[in-house]
Symmetry: C2
Subunit: 244 residues, 2 copies
DNA sequence: CTTGCCCGGTTGTCCTACAACTGCCTGTGT
DNA sequence: ACACAGGCAGTTGTAGGACAACCGGGCAAG
């Protein structure tokens, strides 16, 4: 993935003092230097100890507070809330490859298709068909050199509609993240022009399967649907590897 | 989950200026005020526009940078990296119910089982069997009133081993988070004592299925495995609803 | 036309000062 | 001796200024 150095090591330079401070604090936190619920040194003392300005310490602490590791209370101090960093999970995901992210998305979507078969409402089906119709329209209007950007957007819209039909907010939110992540990392890994094209027929098969109410059928239809882009991605990865 | 007001609204007071600034920026970002890859106003201008100090703006920006929404480059400016907030995903998930989280976990694990059937190594199988053996040992030593804490830990260990056998780092990390989240939210929703008990036989069936290398068989075995606790959770939710 | 330098703009860091708030300690009145 | 109010020291929150580090483009000299 092209998105490197989020907070950790910079590509080829020294990282900022704030980032260094964050890392120091994170290390001491996971090392258990201060007990959970306990108070960490004051900003002033940390600044003196680490030989940085109080502002730098403040920015570092603020980041860790928003990461859920610390809690600050004005007039009292800053306290340890958790020694593990939940945000590290997503950072790790952002670093991983296209194939891995794609598989996670597939996991979420096939299960969503199963649940959608059991819980869908007429409105859900309508939304899927609408997105599909828009997609088909764009493709029909430009048989050659279709506007990738637009089709990708409609495609994402369709898949989101499928997941929403599962009526599971947690699943929807996680999928929304991975859906965007997949497209983003594909765009950076390959060019815009090499995006795998979409096949409307398999999409319609999935809608029919969900409407039938059979989870097994929905799952296999979804798997069929995802097989195409997966194969395309594998092929692209192979050609890129060969080019190198 | 017990972790409430992370950044949003404080329990009973006005939130800090920095948090207000963060929220303002987040809103404008997801509203698409600035295009992805585009430059946001300078710290100086934002400070003047929002009527806060530059320090306040800096802390807000620093948080969003570490959340993956912005990128700062010294001498150039601060740029939009993503209009969706990955951290918001986790926060939303933490707020959702046990059933929803359980379904997400199931989605990840069944797909993991499929992949594990295709990619597992002898070491993976050994790790699963080892965890299973420890689990069986604990149960055998205390047929009645088994030590829930220990069995839950070993159970999690087993499931983690299954997911790791899929050899997908992104999947592993996401699952690790959901696995912990599921157990935590179950512990808070129900008591410790009401945790559904584990059945070793179905676990062994899953290992055998993975070892056979048949993804379909692995998936159905995994589904069978997850059906038990799911049913137990549904029942518990029903009794709790009835109690109310 | 090329090259090197300078300059305005922007983020990074530090400092001081003060505001807002908390908990404790102390002084005072009963 | 005890209760209570007030102040006081300590801590985080916010503001603003100053300078350093760095980038990009414009400009002038060759």
């Amino acid at each position: 993935m092209a998105t490197a150095n989020n907070d950790g090591l910079q590509v080829a330079g020294r990282r900022s003092l704030v980032d260094a401070t964050i890392e120091q604090l994170r290390e001491q936190l996971s090392a258990g230097t201060w007990p959970v619920g306990g108070k960490i040194p004051t900003e002033h003392e940390l600044a003196e100890r680490l030989q940085v300005g109080r502002n730098t310490v403040r920015e570092a602490i603020r980041v860790l507070v928003h990461a859920g590791m610390l809690v600050s209370r004005q007039g009292e101090g800053t306290f340890v809330r958790s020694t593990s960093d939940p945000a590290a999970v997503l950072r790790g995901v952002q670093r991983s490859g296209v194939r891995d992210v794609l598989e996670v998305r597939a996991a979420l979507e096939t299960e969503a298709a199963r649940l959608a078969a059991l819980r869908h409402t007429p409105e859900d089906i309508a939304r899927m068909r609408a997105a599909l119709a828009r997609e088909a329209e764009v493709i029909a209007s430009q048989p050659e050199r279709a506007d990738r950007q637009a089709t990708v957007e409609h495609d994402l819209e369709f898949h989101t509609a499928v997941v929403e039909a599962a009526h599971n907010p947690a699943l929807t939110e996680v999928y929304r993240y991975f859906g965007a992540s997949v497209h983003e990392s594909m765009r950076t890994a390959f060019g815009d022009h090499e995006m795998p094209e979409v096949v409307v027929a398999t999409h319609e098969a999935l809608v029919d399967a969900i409407e039938s109410g059979d989870p097994e059928r929905a799952e296999s239809a979804c798997r069929e649907l995802l097989a195409e882009p997966t194969a395309a991605v594998e092929q692209l990865l192979a050609t890129i590897a060969a080019r190198k």
